[in-house]
């Protein structure tokens, strides 16, 4: 069972600040972490390997410092890791990201399953997983909360939907995205940490994966960020006066005026 896990490095904060001139995230002074949903994906990949044999390859597209995150992936059980890093990838939206990842997966070859987190906590789109499956022409299942069975060219999973659970079967190879219910990611081990320290993380450029220029980076992106802005915060309060009955009547009038009741 050879598994590829896609990881993304994201800012480790909930207070994202945006540079108003460039419309990009201000990353200075913010520690980068692995996207939490991706750590569930990695854990699930490692568990599959432990149960069925094979290997886990972690891949990420990002700046050179994302190699540190891939080393962390090795400390918790990934066997190999590859970083896609090239100025040609800069400005990629989800479409261009999925195109690059797809080419990298084709280069890795021999895989049975690709696991991604259900979404990232910075972009929040949840699109890269399905787009990747589309590019590779293989089945896709989102929001997986349990892998029931895998083997003999098939995977059967559970996923949470609004009013219950669905059980879905697909042929392999396939792409799944996982929800946090699927597992509790492990802590690194000392032997894993020692392995990760000496691990070499190869960096692949656009040329290395034969990615056509028009499919990656800004050129390959179907969307552009035109403007990023903070929502305007308007604080306005009107205090009602008088006895409770009077206040209640006034409130009803106000709500009617605002067409809220």
């Amino acid at each position: 069972m050879n598994v590829i896990v896609c990881l993304k490095q994201v800012p480790g904060t909930t207070e994202v600040k945006i540079d108003p001139n460039t419309n990009t995230l201000i990353r200075q002074g913010i520690k980068a972490i692995v996207n939490p949903f991706d750590s569930y994906a990695l854990e699930e990949g490692v568990r599959l390997k432990e149960k069925h044999g094979g290997k886990v390859t972690a891949i990420s597209m990002g700046p050179p410092q994302a190699a540190d995150m891939l080393k962390d992936a090795i400390s918790v059980g990934a066997d190999e890791a590859v970083l896609l890093s090239d100025m040609a990838f800069a400005g990629s939206d989800t479409l261009a990201t999925a195109a690059a990842l797809g080419k990298a997966v084709e280069k890795i070859k021999n895989y049975d399953l690709i696991i991604c987190g259900r979404q990232t906590i910075d972009g929040d789109t949840g699109q890269v997983g399905p787009e990747l499956a589309e590019n590779l022409g293989i089945p896709f299942i989102a929001y997986v909360s349990k892998i029931e069975e895998i083997g003999n060219g098939k995977i059967r999973v559970q996923r949470a939907v609004e009013d219950g659970h669905e059980t879905i079967e697909a042929s392999l190879p396939a792409v799944i995205t996982v929800a946090k219910e699927i597992n509790v990611p492990r802590m690194p081990s000392l032997r894993g940490l020692s392995k990760s320290k000496s691990a070499q993380i190869p960096t692949w450029t656009a040329n290395d994966i034969d990615a056509p220029k028009e499919t990656i980076g800004q050129a390959g992106s179907g969307t552009w960020v035109v403007k990023v802005f903070y929502p305007q915060r308007i604080q306005h309060a009107e205090m009602l006066k008088g006895e409770p009955e009077v206040q209640a009547k006034a409130l009803i009038e106000k709500l009617k005026e605002a067409k809220m009741i």
């Binding site: 802590m187 690194p188 081990s189 000392l190 032997r191 940490l193 020692s194």
Partner: protein
């Protein structure tokens, strides 16, 4: 303070720190309240290879020394010393095999412990504790093996451990020289567990009676040879005692941090408590005691790791000093935090309860003062 830790030591210290913060901190109050043994956390420690650090490399361990063990115990204890002692007691149970076990015993048991089997050490009885010569449990040799009879009490990890090293008399007429050490597996016929003790502190740890009624132990489970039990015991405790010093150190560190945290936030007389000279003095006193204890514990651990043959005195000093620091610092920490320090919603009362045992077990501080004094007299004798 710079303690010149190796890269590996820094790595295992930070890993233990992370596990303590992320996995132990959220559940420590509940484990304490329910007196619940931290089985899952110990499994997590084992999965992270922390059980391997005190096992030689040849037996699937990482061959770490005393300082490695101390660093991990300190970090765990900083958050919860009940978890820390459950971990450290496995090292205690393993030491007899590491130090005196036969090649076959090592090959059979050490890889199991390295991968997460819990161990325990059984010495104390109702009439034997600090005075190890009062042991009454007997082991009689028969053609089938040794037959053990007797009851051990206050055994850390009792009932939870899979592998026990037990000290019993093979020759009642010889006193301590008639004692021998055995490896007893949890499912040995005739081996059962008595009552689980209710304690002031380290409540999540298991402390239980071990009951041997015609318990058959294979002859090959005798550690070293008959009559070596007392020497094995003394050497095991010399080796394990720094772990208890580290436990005490961790408690003191945790209490100091909690006290600094609370007094920085709590406003009284229009200013944070930490601005008051009387509080500052107490906090500074804590800091210097904690650092002095750390310097001594690490120095003793490094002394042992350097390969010296005898370190009874050093080992005793570190344990006595660090445990007294833990008691004093936790009492003072509760005091500076006032009512909040006394409440179970805050961690300090637990730390104060937990600290007390470190002055008592693995050689009470009184008996260890005695051991230090004996060494002083020996040295004086040599000089004359």
């Amino acid at each position: 303070m710079e303690y010149f830790l190796t890269e590996q030591q820094k790595t295992l210290k930070s890993l233990a720190h992370r596990i303590a913060e992320e996995r132990i901190l959220p559940v420590r109050a509940e484990l304490d309240e329910k007196e619940q043994f931290p089985k899952e956390i110990l499994k997590e420690l084992a999965d992270s290879d922390l059980f391997r650090i005190f096992i030689p490399e040849k037996y699937d361990g990482l061959g770490g020394g005393t300082l490695d063990l101390c660093l991990v115990v300190e970090e765990l204890s900083r958050v919860c010393s009940a978890v820390a002692v459950s971990f450290a007691a496995t090292a205690l149970g393993a030491y007899a095999i590491i130090l005196y076990g036969s090649e076959e015993q090592k090959q059979k048991y050490l890889p199991q412990i390295a991968s997460g089997k819990i161990a325990a050490f059984g010495l104390t009885e109702s009439n034997a504790g600090s005075d190890a010569s009062g042991i009454q449990t007997t082991a009689v040799k028969t053609p089938e093996g040794y037959i053990l009879n007797g009851t051990k009490q206050f055994i850390t990890n009792g009932g939870e451990a899979d592998i026990y090293t037990i000290v019993a008399l093979t020759d009642k007429t010889k006193g301590p020289r008639g004692a021998s050490a055995f490896i007893v597996e949890k499912d040995a016929p005739g081996f059962t567990f008595g009552k689980k003790e209710k304690k002031i502190g380290i409540r999540a740890s298991a402390t239980r009676e071990l009951v041997f009624r015609n318990c058959l132990v294979p002859a090959e489970n005798l550690i070293s040879r008959e009559g070596m039990g007392f020497i094995v015991t003394m050497k095991v405790l010399d080796n394990s005692r720094p772990g208890i010093s580290a436990q005490a150190l961790g408690i003191a560190q945790g209490a100091m941090e909690a006290a600094v945290g609370y007094t920085s936030q709590r406003i009284q007389f229009g200013q944070p408590l930490i601005s008051l000279p009387v509080v500052q003095y107490k906090l500074a006193e804590m800091a210097l005691q904690v650092e002095a204890a750390r310097a001594l514990v690490y120095a003793v651990a490094k002394t042992i790791d350097s390969g010296v043959k005898s370190f009874t005195e050093e080992s005793a000093m570190a344990k006595v000093f660090a445990s007294d620091v833990a008691m004093k610092v936790t009492v003072d920490a509760v005091q500076v935090c006032g009512g909040a320090g006394y409440m179970r919603d805050y961690p300090l009362e637990k730390m104060m309860r937990d600290a007390k045992i470190t002055q008592i077990y693995e050689g009470s501080n009184e008996v260890l003062h005695n051991a230090i004094a004996i060494e002083l007299r020996k040295r004086k004798g040599k000089r004359e």
